[in-house]
Symmetry: C2
Subunit: 195 residues, 2 copies
DNA sequence: CCAAGATACGGAACGGCGTTCCGGATGCCA
DNA sequence: TGGCATCCGGAACGCCGTTCCGTATCTTGG
């Protein structure tokens, strides 16, 4: 679960060279396939794109969630790290919260099917769900706490529920021009404000 | 699409007796299966429950959506009809809107997987989507208009978007005690209020 | 440089699913 | 009761995720 040598010293390269090459190829192929056909793209399509067999995918990424997380890890990290930064730079915690939520929404609505996968109770997506939550709930919590402390929002909203709600609202956005997820999320956040 | 003889005069009973019997049996079996395993229950399970072959299901209900609509038609109608009634009985349009949305939410969160099916872009669910929208959007529109006319909510929200948002928020409710869809919908509606 | 062992690969194979199809059974009416 | 339109059951097909294993490739010690 933890990618220890992410920066990568070379600890005598545990894995075979072709394996490392394939892993990179797969990540690129998956990213392209996700863009073209959504995160629900058939595994065989990703394999074909990468020019490998399906078995190779499962050896590198035992579950579909692992592959999705690997593809989007950087963006999720960036989103998580933006939280404290926004809090420091914004005039009020509420502003920071709004901007951070917007970041999250922008991320979700540009990844066709990701929001839906996030909420799926399918066992294969459990770890996807878990990764997002582990990484983002604490950040959201910090923003909420700050806004509550500043007396800007009601104190009875939990980060978990808020993030799931926002994620849910993003489902189907982008595939229907009449549905404006961004606006609904704005309304939801507006509903948090004390008046 | 339109079930003409819903009340059912007997127009010389077009269909064979066994066919009519099977249709009723199927509706009951499907309702039970939906309760037990959600609206995504495998077609074979419904067939087994009803003691018929899968072909029989597809003859009576060409798409899965047709079956779902048939099972829930009464409740959807009731919800639609409650709109004007609430508007007439409530002290303010906004109260009526809130109560009506609550009705809709209660309906959705007790039907495991229905909210998700509603938002699915799968072709098989297109008509499900369409039926809900055709029936409920006008009602919601009427409630919104009244609340806007009374100066209670912002005037720039459309019924379609609101209903989809509410439907989205109901996805996954009931399968996770930490996720309170009802509360989030309340917040969303609160965000509509003029302050 | 060359085995021999370790590692990774490809894609056939399996089970579950929705959906289609058709030979055979069944209700209906004359 | 006979003949026909209708309906039924479940086998069959294609798509999908996932597993499995014979084969190919890399690595390393000699």
């Amino acid at each position: 679960m933890a990618d220890i040598d992410s920066g990568s010293e070379r600890p005598a390269s545990r894995k075979r060279a072709d394996a490392r090459r394939n892993e990179k190829t797969l990540l690129d192929a998956a990213a392209a396939a996700f863009v073209a056909s959504g995160v629900d793209v058939p595994v065989r399509d990703i394999a074909a794109r990468a020019g490998v067999g399906v078995g190779t995918i499962y050896r590198h990424f035992p579950t579909r969630a692992d592959l999705i997380v690997a593809v989007y890890r950087h963006q999720i990290e960036a989103c998580a790290e933006a939280g404290p930064a926004l809090l420091a730079d914004s005039s009020t915690p509420h502003t920071a919260l709004v901007q951070w939520i917007n970041l999250f929404v922008d991320f979700l609505i540009t990844k066709h099917g990701l929001a839906a996968a996030l909420q799926s109770d399918d066992a294969a997506f459990r770890t996807l769900h878990a990764y997002f939550l582990d990484r983002l709930v604490p950040v959201c919590d910090q923003l909420l706490d700050a806004a509550v402390a500043a007396g800007e929002i009601r104190p009875d909203m939990d980060a978990y529920g808020l993030l799931r709600g926002v994620g849910n609202l993003c489902i189907g956005a982008g595939s229907d021009p009449r549905y404006d997820a961004r606006r609904l999320v704005e309304l939801l956040i507006a509903g948090l404000r004390l008046r």
